[in-house]
């Protein structure tokens, strides 16, 4: 049943997860080291499809909540996430049959793998965001009626807590406050549900997707192929069917501010050949909207990824600097993330944007001259 995660696949998964972080989500490096430690110690990580689990099997999704800057300093470990899971199991009076990510983009792709290795539980190949989002209510689970509560939260000290909030927004709000008290990072399990509900509400096969994205970029580098063409080709047989280069250029300006714990800002790129051809990306931890010469060409929840133009390696909003050569690459989200309810939760209105949501496959290429792909390096 399922497949076992190898060391090589883990590295691909981590890089692919950083791409799905769409500029945010935190660098998976430290998380990858934690999982590598587990594999080196001889532990196994089994990735399964939700279809392989009995309908009533209890699945406990998990994550690390807080600031990546804190994760890189106060390094997390397996005990905290095990404590969070045990606390929720005790509260529910049931044992978990599997875990899964709530967020496949960025650092949080690694936490369920760590929990799976430590406990022997399988990890379901699916998540609730299909990318990275900043808040706990921004989940397909929530959109499709699954309550996030009761959720558990654990610190590095061994403290645990249960939050049973009246709605998912209040759960996020209360959990965020506890995270600050716990030192800016906390281990959480939320949206407890059975496997039948996972099948109905999760974005499927996203761990495999991340692994394939990482492998595609790695192979393109090894074979001196254009990484973006390779990525577009790879995506066609996934539910994220459409990938497109929106722009290639150089970072000309960057403006960053922190508002209520969010890194908000915008980055402006200019095309190499024509300095009047520009792209502006607005971000709030993750990239929200990309506008070419003023017109939107991709908007949340479609994925807007900033990738190194030569290697295809993902570049986070924190690492953006003047002069970088970037390729702005957009990936369409699957249909489950595009319903009116989903868009109300994590589409443009969820981030206070006035523009309507238009799928990237309709927006891209509509404005400005077509983007020419350079020859393979």
């Amino acid at each position: 049943m399922g497949y076992e995660l190898t060391m090589a696949a883990l590295r691909d998964l981590a890089e692919g997860a950083a791409v799905l972080g769409t500029g945010g989500g935190g660098d998976p490096y430290v998380g990858r080291l934690l999982v590598e430690q587990q594999l080196r110690a001889g532990r196994q990580i089994r990735i399964v499809q939700a279809e392989e689990l009995p309908d009533d099997a209890l699945v406990l999704p998990c994550a690390l909540m807080g600031a990546p800057t804190v994760f890189w300093e106060k390094l997390p470990g397996p005990q905290g996430i095990v404590n969070a899971m045990r606390a929720l199991e005790a509260h529910l009076g049931r044992r978990a049959a599997a875990t899964m990510p709530i967020e496949c983009g960025g650092f949080n792709s690694m936490i369920p793998l760590l929990l799976g290795a430590e406990t022997g539980l399988p990890v379901v190949d699916a998540d609730g965001m299909g990318r990275a989002f900043p808040e706990l209510q921004m989940e397909t689970f929530a959109v499709l009626g699954v309550p996030g509560s009761p959720m558990s939260i654990a610190s590095d000290h061994g403290d645990t807590g249960i939050i049973d909030a009246v709605d998912n927004r209040r759960m996020e709000w209360l959990a965020r406050a506890m995270t600050v008290q716990m030192g800016g990072s906390a281990y959480i399990c939320d949206y407890p549900m059975d496997a039948a509900t996972v099948r109905r509400t999760a974005v499927p096969r996203t761990l495999t997707l991340a692994t394939r994205i990482g492998a595609t970029l790695r192979e393109a580098r090894e074979e001196h192929r254009n990484p973006f063409e390779a990525l577009t080709e790879m995506l066609t047989d996934t539910i994220y069917s459409y990938g497109v280069v929106l722009f290639q250029g150089k970072v000309a300006d960057i403006d960053r501010r922190t508002v209520d714990g969010f890194a908000r800002g915008r980055v402006r790129l200019t095309a190499m050949a024509d300095p009047d051809d520009t792209m502006e990306i607005v971000f709030q931890n993750e990239h929200l909207v990309a506008r070419r010469n003023g017109d939107p060409v991709a908007i949340v929840p479609d994925l807007i990824c900033t990738l190194n133009s030569e290697t295809g390696a993902p570049v986070t909003t924190e690492a953006l600097t003047y002069g970088q050569r970037l390729t702005v690459y957009a990936i369409s989200t699957p249909e489950i993330m595009r319903s009116p309810e989903a868009l109300a939760c994590f589409g443009p209105p969820g981030f206070g944007l006035d523009e309507p949501y238009v799928p990237v496959e309709r927006l891209a290429g509509r404005t400005g001259p077509p983007v020419r792909l350079p020859a393979a390096p």
């Binding site: 600031a67 990546p68 300093e73 390094l75 997390p76 590095d156 922190t258 002069g323």
Partner: protein
């Protein structure tokens, strides 16, 4: 007068400067022993008639000794590592991401202890003096003389690292201690790695400083010794013993600063074309732009300040390939240029041959490249010119075009105009730009910390606090008070946390206050 020396992999260059004037320069071969090349260079430099050895106020040396030690894994001292963090971080112990060959070379004694801080300055756990005394006993039993101490969020609060150092010194007087908050920035593994690198180089630092001092004595120079740091500022002998890791990458930095100084351009791109590679860096206010992320040295991921240099395989010895299409480098004949290049009677078509055929350079025997196809020569020169222009463009930070200063032995390869570049300078003495960079070094102070902005402590307060601290540190490191200026202020906000945590980096620089040697005991405490 000042003497600047750059000890590179193949050459040791030296210059004698009075104020901003280059009085003399020499280029000698680097020797296997530490001092030979330096003594030779100094003797030749000071041999000119009328030069008074006692009029030398300071000798500034930039060296690759410490980088080489780490890369080759030789001369590294057994080191103890103490991390103050429990109950947090235990899953990823110190050196978890080091290459096994270096772990074997260091034979580290690793200890996880209670302590550390949260991002907002609350302790994770109190320090346990008994625990640290037991660690000291173990270090003493194993005869280890150097220890690296890291503490979670020490860039926010250094208190625990300092207290732990005091406890260890009480138990083991004479122990060399490297504290992470003095070396790296936020990012525990990377800061800790840099601290361990520093700790394992401290024995070597004692040897190198002693050898350099002996070399000065041997030629009758009594002036104090300074070493170049990787940000272009200087540290004295005692500071070098404590922070050898700060010499890493001082070579490219010195080269860039020397070039900018020679061309009198504090804001420019510097292109250094050697035999095998071309390095491009950018200076702002006379100092190199720093790399923003982590850097990998000998397989160790660290996050201390390093110059942002773009390096490609293009130089005087680069091989010219014609099939399937014209390409120059990255393969190079390297030091065999004088045997293998066509102009020297060899069989390999190199970048130098193209430059000679195009009339850009007068090297070897031009008759030997007269037969080359004119079209090939033209396209080759154009290829190299475009490559260099593209590198400069990639390093630019704004739309404003940057002047370029061209240095290095291979700088003859390209014509004096580059597309998209307002001006190209190839200054006099460009072959010893790195030694000049060492000679003109100033003294700096850095702050890199995480601050919390509150109602009673505004953003302006935090920035002012950081600026004052940077200036104090420059003066403490030997800058003349009153000459210190803040060169850089950078603030980055911390994402995904409510509240206002901000990371502030400030760099202050001043003129070196030259003091007679031997009076400087400020750093002799540990």
């Amino acid at each position: 007068m000042r003497v600047g020396i750059d000890v590179g992999g193949t050459h040791t260059d030296a210059v004698l400067m009075a104020g901003t004037t280059v009085l003399a320069s020499v280029k000698t071969a680097t020797t296997l022993d530490v001092t030979g090349g330096i003594v030779t260079a100094l003797e030749r430099l000071l041999a000119a008639p009328g030069i008074d050895h006692t009029a030398v106020d300071g000798v500034m040396i930039g060296t690759t000794h410490f980088t080489n030690a780490l890369v080759t894994g030789r001369h590294l001292a057994p080191t103890a590592v103490i991390r103050l963090a429990l109950p947090a971080t235990a899953a990823l112990p110190p050196m978890v991401d080091w290459p096994p060959r270096l772990v074997a070379a260091l034979r580290p004694s690793i200890h996880l202890c209670h302590g550390g801080h949260e991002f907002d300055g609350r302790p994770i756990a109190p320090l346990d003096p008994g625990e640290l005394r037991r660690v000291a006993a173990e270090i003493g039993r194993r005869g280890i003389g150097s220890v690296a101490i890291s503490s979670v969020f020490s860039p926010v609060s250094a208190e625990m690292e300092e207290t732990a150092a005091g406890i260890l010194l009480d138990e083991l007087p004479g122990l060399h201690i490297s504290l992470s908050h003095q070396i790296g920035r936020v990012g525990l593994l990377e800061r800790e790695n840099a601290t361990i690198v520093n700790a394992c180089l401290r024995d070597l630092a004692d040897d190198i400083v002693a050898a350099f001092t002996a070399a000065l004595r041997a030629v009758g120079v009594t002036a104090p010794l300074y070493l170049s740091q990787n940000d272009g500022t200087l540290m004295d002998a005692e500071f070098t013993r404590r922070y050898p890791v700060r010499t890493f990458a001082s070579g490219p930095t010195n080269s860039m600063r020397g070039a900018a100084f020679l061309a009198d351009r504090p804001d420019c791109a510097v292109v250094d074309i050697g035999g095998t590679t071309t390095d491009v860096g950018v200076l702002a206010g006379g100092y190199p732009r720093q790399a923003t992320g982590e850097v990998d040295i000998g397989g160790v991921r660290v996050n201390f300040r390093m110059p942002d240099v773009l390096s490609v395989g293009l130089g005087g010895g680069s091989r010219v390939t014609r099939d399937p299409e014209l390409e120059i480098g990255p393969d190079s004949v390297g030091y065999r240029l004088t045997r293998e290049a066509l102009v020297f009677g060899g069989q390999v078509l190199t970048a130098t041959d193209l430059a000679v055929a195009a009339g850009l350079a007068d090297i070897g025997d031009p008759a030997r490249v007269r037969h080359l196809d004119r079209d090939l020569v033209e396209r080759g020169i154009e290829w190299m010119t475009r490559r260099v222009a593209d590198l400069v463009d990639r390093m630019r930070v704004s739309a404003t075009p940057l002047p370029v200063v061209l240095v290095g032995g291979g700088s003859v390869l390209i014509p004096a105009d580059l597309p998209g570049v307002p001006s190209v300078h190839r200054p006099e003495h460009h072959a010893v730009a790195n030694a000049i960079g060492a000679a003109i070094g100033q003294i700096g102070g850095d702050v890199d910390g995480l601050y919390t902005i509150t109602a009673s402590r505004t953003r302006a307060d935090v920035l002012e606090e950081a600026r004052a601290e940077a200036i104090d540190r420059a003066v403490a490191a030997g800058a003349a008070p009153g000459t210190v200026e803040v060169k850089e202020v950078d603030e980055v906000h911390v994402a995904y946390l409510p509240g206002n945590a901000v990371r502030v980096r400030v760099k202050a620089v001043g003129e070196l206050a030259l003091v007679p040697s031997g009076e400087d005991g400020r750093w002799a405490t540990s």
